[in-house]
Amino acid sequence: MENLKKPVESRRGFLAGVAGAGALAALGEAATLREALAQAAPAPAAPPGTVTNEAIKAGKASAMQYHSERPITGSVPAHEHDFEFTPTDRVFVRNNLLTPDLDINAHRLTVKGLVEKELTFSVAELQKAFPVVTMAGMIECAGAGRTNYQPRASGTPWGETGGMSCPVWTGVRLRDVLAAARLKGGAAHIAGQGGDPGAVAAAAPVIRSIPMSKAMDENTLIAWAMNGAPLPKVHGYPLRLVTPGWVGSASTKWLHTLTVLDAPFKGTYMTGSYVMPKWPVKPGEKMPPDTVSTQAWPVKSMITSPAPDQLLKGTERITVRGKAWVGEGSVDRVDISFDEGVSWHRAQLDGGRDKYAWRTFTYDYVPQRFGHLTFLARATDDRGNVQPITPYWNPLGYFWNGLHRVGVMVVPA
């Protein structure tokens, strides 16, 4: 009970220590796994220039739940997100292709297309040429929460929660780099391309473009650090885009080329994936011809404490704590219900310094009875958008922002 009442701020040092211990534990497990595999069968040749899943997992907390190995996808559930910002070893993993092992000294970023001056930077040059920005910001996979949809959609089966992270990023503003290259008339979109290779030589490169309005946002970064340390390989080392608040695929990892275009990029990762029906379809129907590209996440929240099935002592005050965020705009309020949505009670909202960071909400509550008790959280943004109970179904299972429910047991003291 005691640790639940502590303000989030004072937990940071303690939690950093826990995170470190988690990473060590994960290393130990990975070593055991490697040994087991080595005995079972000779390890296959590692694809040259890529990072193994074992190496990726060695840098992750033991709380990570992996949903697939090829491509590797993993995240932690809501109650493992109870930190002010997401520690590196809990940031979700989702690749479309393989994780490249790039050399920071050889890496170059090229800016081309509709620009007066084509530019190429080494990482060191980029770091010196522009003002350096550090900010917390959300990145969330478009399919986060997908398994909540019925019928189930195809794609990474992200659990009820998970598939989102809010670490602290360090980099330069994309708009400063574009200003140096001087945009030509008609510049409308900017496409990021990363160095992630496919399993077959014919694999389509993962290229996504974002509109110039988002590219010019002061919070859209070309980043090289996560939580004050160089990006881990699986998260885009040595450079990545950070397009905060938007679907994760807009934040190109292993970024090597930015191409300024007069229209959205046309490619399978723009037109075949990350799209939703322009108008909702009946659940279970296929994608209609009229689609829109997914961009900013709708308003969303999750309860990070108490954990599901936690035992709470009756008559003792508990704190319901969680995170709330929205892809564009700001979260204005969060309400908590402990009677399945019959009544709602306004939670206290902290944070809000960084526009695209999640905000922490807290609500103190004394259980009035014993037995099973549920908490629901519901966030509202500054435009009056409220989280739905269940969002409209879509064929690829994107943008789940339904209410998060956590059930606990209240027992006599």
Partner: protein, 192 residues
């Protein structure tokens, strides 16, 4: 792409093979088209992506088109077979029928083709076309006149290899029976 990039991109096709080695016991429900479906889908991802996604035939069609756009090496005919198979055995709206022999597997009841399918060889190789690895005819031509060809090729299949046909590694096949291995080697060297 620059030359190093081309080499790297090709080399990375490895992933296909490597992870395939880990997941060789992963199977779909046996039925007409199941072998082709396994061989093509396993190139890039685990088969659980299929078994846990129950889709409608229309969604499977969208899904396959998307996979082809992403680079799956499959012809339109192959795509039709895979679509038909998935629409029968992994259809959200209809329970799957009982498993049945894969009458559409390349080579049908041919014992060598069965071995090639069971060991996922046909995912990357075909008789006369390059898919990811060289065609069997190219392999046969390369070893023509080499007295040690059988032993060399058997070692290559058993231990896996890289560098003969480019930087794309082939995964090892440690579990293959010796008699099956010899049978496949003899058959491959016969493809001229």
């Amino acid at each position: 792409m620059s030359r190093p990039e081309v080499i790297r991109a090709a080399a990375l096709a490895a992933a296909l093979c490597c992870a395939g080695a880990f997941a060789q016991d992963e199977r779909l429900i046996s039925g007409p088209g199941s072998t082709l479906t396994e061989n093509k889908c396993k190139i890039c991802h685990e088969l659980q992506h299929i078994s846990r996604a129950q889709l409608s035939p229309g969604e499977w069609a969208d899904n396959l088109r998307n996979m082809k756009e992403r680079g799956t090496p499959m012809t339109d005919d192959e795509m039709r077979v895979i679509h038909e198979y998935l629409s029968v055995y992994y259809n959200r709206d209809k329970p799957a029928p009982a498993s049945a022999p894969d009458t559409l597997a390349a080579g049908g009841d041919d014992p060598v083709q069965k071995l090639l399918n069971a060991n996922a060889c046909n995912g990357c190789h075909s008789v006369d076309k390059r898919i990811v690895g060289p065609s069997f005819r190219e392999v046969a031509a390369k070893y023509a006149g080499d007295r040690d060809a059988s032993a060399r090729l058997a070692t290559k299949i058993r231990a896996g290899g890289q560098g003969v046909w480019g930087q794309v590694p082939m995964p090892p096949n440690p579990a293959m029976q010796e008699t099956d291995l010899r049978r496949v080697v003899t058959w491959v060297l016969d493809q001229k």
